[in-house]
Symmetry: C2
Subunit: 241 residues, 2 copies
């Protein structure tokens, strides 16, 4: 079924009219009267609607308001130290498809790429758009927020509030993700360092902040592969597929 | 530890001398006498070696011959219908990091990209190089073979020999990967269709060939995301991390 993201307040009204980009998109798809579609607020709520008329405006009647049926029950946040080039874009796109709740980027001491304040504002807009587009394509009911933090300590404080707060580190070889996920959990933080890895002192700092340090196996994963591998495994473990 | 891939017959000899690209690479790394390194045959066997001298040639003594310590116990093969653009390259690189045993590409009826015989030979060389390079970087003991098959039926015959032969299909919503992996297994085939999906008749054909049709959850994954998500989950399920 076709789905559009609309502003949350739009979903509250009784007479729904598609506007702007959504209207253009709906016309391109040649939506017809009687056809059903989904309007999502991007925050986990959706309306099943039916097209009432297509001219002059595309107006809809609401058949059912309901929580999104495609959101995972577990909230997984991906924490990634700024990587080089367009790797963060890749991770935002894929993590959105895979069901992430939020993607958080932060600087760490070995980050080669550290965008300045001015370019960050523009980049954040771009990154959030990537999340929106991936959410539409994959049928998400929620658009994952892209959050930028100023420091590693902020990232640790943010990550540590989850039921399972995990840091993946290439020098850990005994404590596995499976061990970390034993028992039940509703929220998980998955943190990875940049290309050059984290400093041992940063790993210590993470432990002190309450993160568990885990391995993702005997092979060295690239910094953009590790969070997506872990996210896939967590969704599997949580019974999503 | 530094690792080099060498021809399997090289590993049999007692006096090991680095040559060609490996010698150049070793000089660039300024390897010193006494230093240890790993020579891998790319088929799961490796030699722990020590540098004896660095001039005029880099000669090595063998300390230990052993099976590679970084290979997963489970053999997972990824089967992918030819996707558009460079998505197959992406999947080859990431699947290698994630521990795949082999990556197999094949045509299916909705494939938009169908490389001709002549360009395929060149592309196969390029794809195999991507696997070699990813195997080196991720510390694999085996270089996954990239295999090109001529037809969907060949791919089904090839895939169906595994202990678990699975096809991921967006219209399946009940039978999960977790159900498919119950019990023990030593080999798994993971098959995905192209961007436009498989034809219903192809899905039927796959069932008849013995593949189980599975879901990867309620979100629609892109054709390049699905096999990597499934591969990560299988490695997790098999106890790799």
């Amino acid at each position: 079924m076709v789905r559009f993201f609309v502003a949350p307040e739009t979903l509250q009204s009784h007479a729904l009219v598609l506007s702007g980009e959504n209207a253009r998109h709906a016309r391109a798809l040649r939506l017809k009267e009687q056809e059903q579609l989904l309007l999502c607020d991007g925050q986990g709520q959706e309306c099943l609607c039916q097209v009432v008329e297509t001219s002059p405006d595309i107006t809809l009647s609401v058949l059912e308001r309901r929580p999104s049926r495609t959101e995972p029950a577990v909230e997984v946040r991906v924490y990634m130290a700024y990587p080089k080039a367009d790797k963060l874009e890749h991770v935002i796109q894929k993590a959105t498809e895979l069901g992430a709740y939020e993607v958080v980027a932060f600087p760490s001491s070995r980050c080669i790429s550290r965008p300045d304040e001015k370019s960050l504002k523009k980049k954040l807009e771009r990154w959030q758009k990537i999340a929106i587009s991936a959410a539409e394509q994959s049928g998400r009911g929620r658009i994952p927020q892209v959050t930028l933090l100023d420091s590693f300590s902020q990232a640790l404080a943010h990550a540590s509030t989850a039921d399972r707060a995990l840091l993946f580190y290439e020098n850990e070889d005994a404590f596995t993700l499976k061990m970390a996920l034993e028992g039940s959990y509703r929220s998980v933080s998955l943190m990875v360092g940049p290309e050059g890895g984290l400093e041992p002192s940063e790993v210590l700092q993470a432990r002190e902040a309450g993160l568990r340090v885990c391995t993702l196996g005997k092979r060295i994963l690239r910094c953009e592969t590790a969070p997506l591998c872990a996210l896939s495994a967590v969704m599997y473990d949580a019974g999503e597929f």
